[in-house]
Symmetry: C2
Subunit: 307 residues, 2 copies
């Protein structure tokens, strides 16, 4: 690499969306690199992926290993580093300042996805990683024969609960809404599990513990008491798009801070694209994120051809 | 299967788009089946797929084997049959008449893709399968040490030419335009090949032969003559969307007869979706078609939930 090297297509984010984009961009012979804080993205924290067509059943890590091998076969540099600032120098020239070094690129793809939404109650911060977790894949094994609660009603919440049943002796799902709404196949699995008990129309308002979590305080009684004794609490209440960097360089977002993109993955800024969970696209699947990333590569290739 | 069985989600088309849709629909616990005239779709005629993320390099058949195995794991029936007519009986009830039997379904996905565009010149029909082909994957091996021409300037044309160099001693690319426009990686491979010679700004106006192809007549002289002696002619001039059935049931198409869909893969008709190469989506990749199919499954699941 030369000192003043300028990349054609600079991908921020090392999840499936960014990696898929880089595979296509390099096939378009765009000089492409990927920088991500967490190579692999959030999907590597998922223990079970059964819905990326062509991979019947694998872990998120296995799927991303295949994606990363694919990018490596195209000789795309994939660098673990944190992007600290993105600045527009002039049309189709951006500076990307990272923790380790600074890069220049003609186009930028934001594919930084999202982070877990924290549970905003007393005890969350205090007991984070001391019984409070966002990731059953990472932490389920610590709860062998224990009692845990999963907070949330989504498909992710159901999948976390199902994984936890392999270790814990009891798994509560605490959901503020009427009925949890996982993918039907996972809903049926939850129903079939004798270890899972759903506490609906209920919020956790405090997490209690002594060194580690000992219980949750509910906002209404369950079986006669507001105190729910648990050893672990898994928070699955959605994600926050990691769009701050994009906003700082002028990219438009909606009120959820999701980047607004067209069907061509272009943003409102020339030379800047976005794809995957950072955008307003509602599907949030590996297959749809990857396709959006690929479309971003098409658009960048087209835009650079006109320069 | 009962006699009066009604399917929730009926996929017409057994290519990657339809199969991906069926995997998701069955995860949504929609009663799903797939009928296709050619299970696997056109992609199985492609000898080299290097751009479906996660599969570094494989044949189209290998990729589709993985997709079909995935659908089989979800117990989706995938039936080889030709759909002859689709009729709307009432809202969210369609009759699908096939060669072998007739089905009923609440929703229908058109994922029938496209067929090869024929070359409209004298000799095309006469010598079809007698030296004239649309599929190097199928027929390249018949041309060992022979001379062949590929008609077209797209990435498909370049890939066909590259495959043919493994057998033929000489491969012409005859293209009506100024410069062929493959993916850059394949453009570089074409350039590097000593067997490939590009004849640009030229059309074939007649195919000649005696029992099998012996040559092509060009519309302008090449190296002093309009007669190009070749043993085989591979036509790669695009595709025609297979949208007639959809049109017959009221689905709107554009002037290329591509089905007009929204970003949610819905058509203008309630309960009818379309995805992949049959639509106006310009990308025509396995990854984008699969994502569009998946999105159709999301939309059908949502629409059926409201019924």
């Amino acid at each position: 690499m030369q000192k003043n090297e300028i990349w054609d297509f600079f991908v921020i984010g090392g999840g499936p969306t960014g990696i898929a984009a880089s595979i296509y961009a390099s096939r378009f012979m765009l000089k492409t690199m990927v920088v991500g804080k967490d190579i692999g993205g959030l999907i590597v924290r998922t223990h079970l992926v059964e819905n990326y067509p062509g991979f019947v059943s694998c872990s998120g890590q296995e799927l991303m290993d295949a994606f990363l091998k694919h990018a490596a076969s195209m000789k795309v540099p994939v660098v673990e580093d944190e992007v600290l600032a993105v600045t527009k120098i002039k049309p189709y020239l951006f500076e990307i300042r990272c923790g380790e070094k600074t890069y220049h690129a003609k186009t930028v793809l934001f594919a930084t996805g999202s982070k877990w939404r924290p549970l905003d109650v007393p005890g969350y911060k205090e007991f984070y990683a001391k019984g409070v977790s966002h990731c059953a894949t990472c932490d389920a094994a610590f709860f062998k024969d224990k009692v845990v609660a999963v907070v949330g009603g989504s498909d992710s919440a159901a999948k976390e609960a199902l994984l936890l049943t392999q270790f814990a002796r009891k798994v509560y799902i605490v959901y503020r809404g009427e009925e949890i709404h996982p993918e039907p196949i996972n809903g049926a699995r939850v129903k079939a599990s004798k270890k899972i008990e759903i506490i609906s129309k209920t919020n956790i308002i405090e997490i209690k513990g002594i060194k580690t979590v000992t219980g949750a305080v509910l906002d209404k009684p369950y079986k006669g008491t507001k105190e729910l004794p648990v050893d672990g609490i898994f928070i699955e209440i959605g994600h926050i798009p990691l769009s701050d960097l994009a906003v700082s360089v002028g990219v438009a977002v909606n009120d959820k801070r999701e980047i607004m993109v067209g069907p061509d993955s272009r943003t409102n800024c020339a030379g800047i694209y976005a794809a995957g969970d950072i955008t307003q696209s509602p599907y949030r699947q590996v297959i749809t994120g990857a396709a959006e990333g690929v479309i971003a590569a098409f658009s960048a290739y087209e835009d650079l051809g006109k320069q």
